[in-house]
């Protein structure tokens, strides 16, 4: 029973990792930029979610607003910086990204935005029931996370495989110049990519905020670091790889903590995994040389 | 005297076979390595100089098997190279570019941490090399500001600074106007007469025919001909390879 409980906890944890990592993978795929400021998008999503929820009291509307505004925020980030740095060496946009991340985190902690304290996000399970079977035991909150994640992944899958937009991303991720040469409007395509990826991060922020009943300015730091570890594990720019790696990391984290207990905090496990990965399999678990 | 021996080298990139059982030896000569685009010439250079470890086969240099060595180790044995796509140290001056080559004996030792590089004897050696390569007047120029022809010559100068016994030149004449190409031929000949063996990859048939004593022809990863320029020129396979390309 304990193992099953651990598994469902891990599954829920993995869901939030997936939403976060999906956006990063998409951005990396198209721009080849490690988009560290993604963490700020996630936090902004949670913040908007909690604000709208406290005004209107409807979780779904709050989620929608959070996703829309996060998406716009992501596009603004792209248009104000990366857009100008597309042809610079890769470390240049990366440093700019770090700069934005530090700047936004500091600003969000100011009183006129989120302030340095935690806010509650009492959306409970948005009215969903608890599920208790032999295989799965989910609280309403966990069910909510699972459903939203699955829904968004289906939508994402559809967009990537069945639409012109998805095709244009695939083309751009293989060769940006070629994609432009065959008549893809790269700018619009990349902006849409940022919008979608950022909206997913916003959704992740809202879900984690509800799950922990807590939203605060630095909440994005850890999930975003972990999302990087996940996209490295999954082989950069690969969505299925990222999903697999999310599951793997969540399971490892949960069981390490359950069986070994605290030697180091569980979050350092991810970093040790990252450093070892980078040393021994720098192209990811599924990646080829 | 055989300095370099390439024995049954094959190399695959994924499923693509770039080199198929290539074997040849150098003699005391300027050896030309020619062939149409994609024939595997640069791959072969990369194998010889250690940038690629071949899937099969051996590279023997002065009786020693070297195909497992890293590029920086092959240099220390006396084998220097230039690159098809030039790679001068863009932010360094011409003088400093050549100095990097003079440091070759120091880099693998901890002396590199304490010994200064801009010493009078070193600057003299640089002067000598820049004179040979006709780059003297550009001494203080940042390498990035030189035109491509001079950048190619700078790469040769840098390679010379490592005091090679064998010099591998990857398309040194590419992008040069005929006047520059003639100067380059003279330079390569002069180096040969100083006792350096040379292998030169060339796309330009005429340039290679005039310069080299012997020529190896690659086509689609295979060695298809091997001989003096006139032998190679009349070889049916070679004619087909070049005509077939058009």
């Amino acid at each position: 029973m304990l193992i099953l409980q651990n598994l469902s906890d891990a599954l829920i944890l993995a869901c939030t990792y997936i939403l976060m990592a999906a956006g990063l993978t998409m951005v990396y795929g198209v721009l080849k930029v490690l988009h560290i400021a993604h963490a700020s998008v996630y936090t902004v999503g949670a913040f908007i979610g909690v604000l709208v929820f406290s005004w209107i009291g409807n979780f779904w509307l709050a989620l929608l607003c959070a996703m829309l505004i996060s998406g716009v925020f992501g596009v603004l980030i792209y248009r104000s910086t990366y857009f100008y740095l597309l042809n610079a060496p890769r470390t240049v946009p990366l440093i700019a990204s770090v700069g934005m991340f530090v700047m936004f985190t500091d600003l969000l902690q100011k009183n006129f935005l989120m302030g340095p304290y935690q806010r509650a996000f009492p959306a409970a399970g948005a009215g969903l029931p608890a599920i208790q079977t032999t295989w799965l035991s989910l609280t309403p909150k966990q069910l909510l996370i699972l459903l939203v994640t699955l829904g968004l992944l289906v939508l994402l899958y559809f967009l990537l495989t069945r639409t012109r937009l998805g095709l244009s991303w695939q083309a751009a991720s293989m060769d940006r110049e070629m994609a432009a040469a065959v008549g893809i409007n790269l700018n619009r395509s990349i902006a849409a990519n940022f919008f979608l990826g950022s909206a997913l991060a916003g959704a992740a922020g809202v879900l984690v905020g509800v799950y922990n009943n807590s939203v605060f300015a630095t909440m994005g730091d850890l999930p975003s670091y972990k999302a990087f570890i996940i996209i490295v594990l999954g082989g950069m720019g690969s969505l299925p790889g990222a999903i697999l790696a999310s599951l793997l990391l969540a399971i490892v984290e949960n069981f390490m903590v359950a069986s070994i207990g605290y030697v180091l905090p569980r979050d350092s496990i991810a970093f040790l995994v990252l450093i070892l990965m980078l040393m021994f399999r720098p192209n990811g678990l599924l990646g080829r040389e | 005297m055989t300095l370099l021996e390439v024995k049954h080298i094959s190399h695959w990139f994924g499923g693509l076979q770039a080199l198929k059982d290539v074997s040849f030896q150098t003699q005391d000569e300027i050896l030309g390595l020619i062939g149409p685009n994609g024939a595997g010439k640069t791959t072969l250079f990369n194998v010889i100089s250690g940038f690629i470890t071949p899937t099969k086969g051996e590279v023997i240099y002065e009786g020693q098997r070297i195909h497992h060595l890293r590029p920086y180790q092959t240099v220390r044995l006396g084998m220097a190279r230039t690159f098809q796509i030039v790679k001068p140290f863009a932010t360094l001056t011409v003088e400093e570019n050549v100095l990097t080559g003079l440091g070759m004996p120091y880099y693998p030792t901890s002396k590199a941490l304490v010994q200064r590089y801009k010493t009078a004897p070193n600057l003299e050696k640089v002067e000598e090399i820049l004179t040979t390569t006709h780059l003297k007047e550009y001494r203080e120029f940042p390498a990035a500001k030189l035109p491509i022809g001079l950048q190619r010559r700078l790469e040769i100068a840098r390679a010379l600074a490592t005091q090679p016994k064998l010099l591998l030149l990857d398309e040194p004449a590419a992008g040069l106007v005929s006047q520059e190409a003639t100067e380059l031929s003279d330079l390569i000949l002069a180096l040969f007469h100083q006792g350096i063996q040379i292998i030169v990859i060339e796309h330009n048939m005429r340039f290679a025919m005039n310069l080299c004593q012997r020529i190896v022809v690659l086509n689609q990863g295979e060695l298809i001909a091997h001989g003096t320029p006139s032998e190679v020129q009349n070889n049916e396979k070679v004619i087909n390879a070049y005509l077939g390309q058009e």
Partner: protein
């Protein structure tokens, strides 16, 4: 502002000049961007603090141990850089910073979030350096020492090898530079110098806490290097002075210090990626034009 306060500020400026210069060896000379330099500051500070507080060893032992131990750890942590492409290395250094802070926080030996306190003031040759002007002198000497190391290093074969691998690793290999060796050198030297700064930092404050060495502190140091001009000697010095003094001069900036660091990084990347006083920056070109016959000064730098 009291004169004591001003001395304190300049003591920190001196420590940060050493830190920025040491980071510059790794990031500017060898081209390995690091987001984890605060970890080395922390390792140096904690080494010193542990030796002084737990074992009662004298300052000079703590200090040397901090330099050596941080140098060794830096060398080991440099190993991933051999296999990793540039942008991934940045992630790895970020991870290193996080793990190091976690160790300080969660391993009992380091007293966790309580930190190590009551680190005694250093005594050298019977003189006690308890804050104030004497300590400022000590840190200034260390900053000069760091500067001397950087300057000398840039004149040696290894300095030239750093240039080479930063420009193009394949070309560097073609003249006999094994880039692995030189990256490791850069990590080791850079970490060792930061470790010394950490020792001075710990003895100056008298206490160390894990939160002094978090990721944003690393960003602060990187901002100093990039703002001033990456790969030059003058850049990190000017960057450290400017970014440490600004918040002190303007209270408003003190509250928005990290916003400033972040915004500076973004703006520099957009408009002057080589830094304000870097080789091709307009400010540097402008000031060199004012000083005629200054051509040789173009030589020392590694853009």
């Amino acid at each position: 502002m009291s004169s004591g306060y001003i001395v304190t500020i300049f003591t920190f400026v001196a420590i940060y000049i050493s830190l920025a210069l040491s980071l510059n060896i790794l990031t500017g000379y060898a081209g390995q961007i690091s987001l984890g330099h605060a970890a080395f500051l922390g390792i140096g500070a904690y080494t010193s603090a542990v030796l002084a507080v737990r074992y009662g060893l004298p300052f000079w032992v703590d200090f040397l141990a901090a330099v050596v131990i941080t140098g060794i750890i830096g060398t080991i942590l440099g190993l991933p850089s051999l296999r990793v492409r540039h942008d991934f290395l940045v992630l790895a250094t970020m991870g290193v910073n996080f793990v190091v802070v976690s160790v300080f926080k969660y391993v009992d030996f380091f007293r966790g979030a309580m930190g190590l306190v009551n680190i005694p003031a250093p005594t050298i040759l019977g003189l006690t350096f308890r804050g104030g002007a004497p300590y400022l002198t000590l840190t200034a000497i260390y900053a000069l020492l760091t500067l001397a190391v950087c300057w000398y290093l840039s004149k040696t074969w290894s300095g030239l090898a750093f240039h080479a691998i930063r420009n193009d690793e394949d070309a560097a290999a073609s003249v006999g530079v094994g880039s692995a060796r030189y990256k490791i050198y850069a990590f080791g030297i850079s970490a060792a110098l930061a470790g010394g700064a950490g020792s001075l930092y710990a003895h100056f404050l008298g206490s160390v806490f894990p939160d002094n060495f978090v990721f944003v502190e690393s960003i602060g140091m990187l901002s100093m290097v990039i703002f001033g001009g990456i790969g030059t000697l003058r850049g990190p010095i000017i960057g450290a002075i400017f970014l440490r003094l600004m918040p002190e001069l303007f209270r408003f900036i003190q509250d928005y210090r990290f916003t400033l660091y972040g915004a500076l990084l973004v703006l520099m990347m957009l408009f002057q990626p080589m830094g304000l006083l870097g080789k091709d920056s307009w400010l540097w070109k402008f000031s060199t034009r004012l000083l005629p016959g200054n051509r040789t000064s173009m030589r020392e730098e590694i853009p």
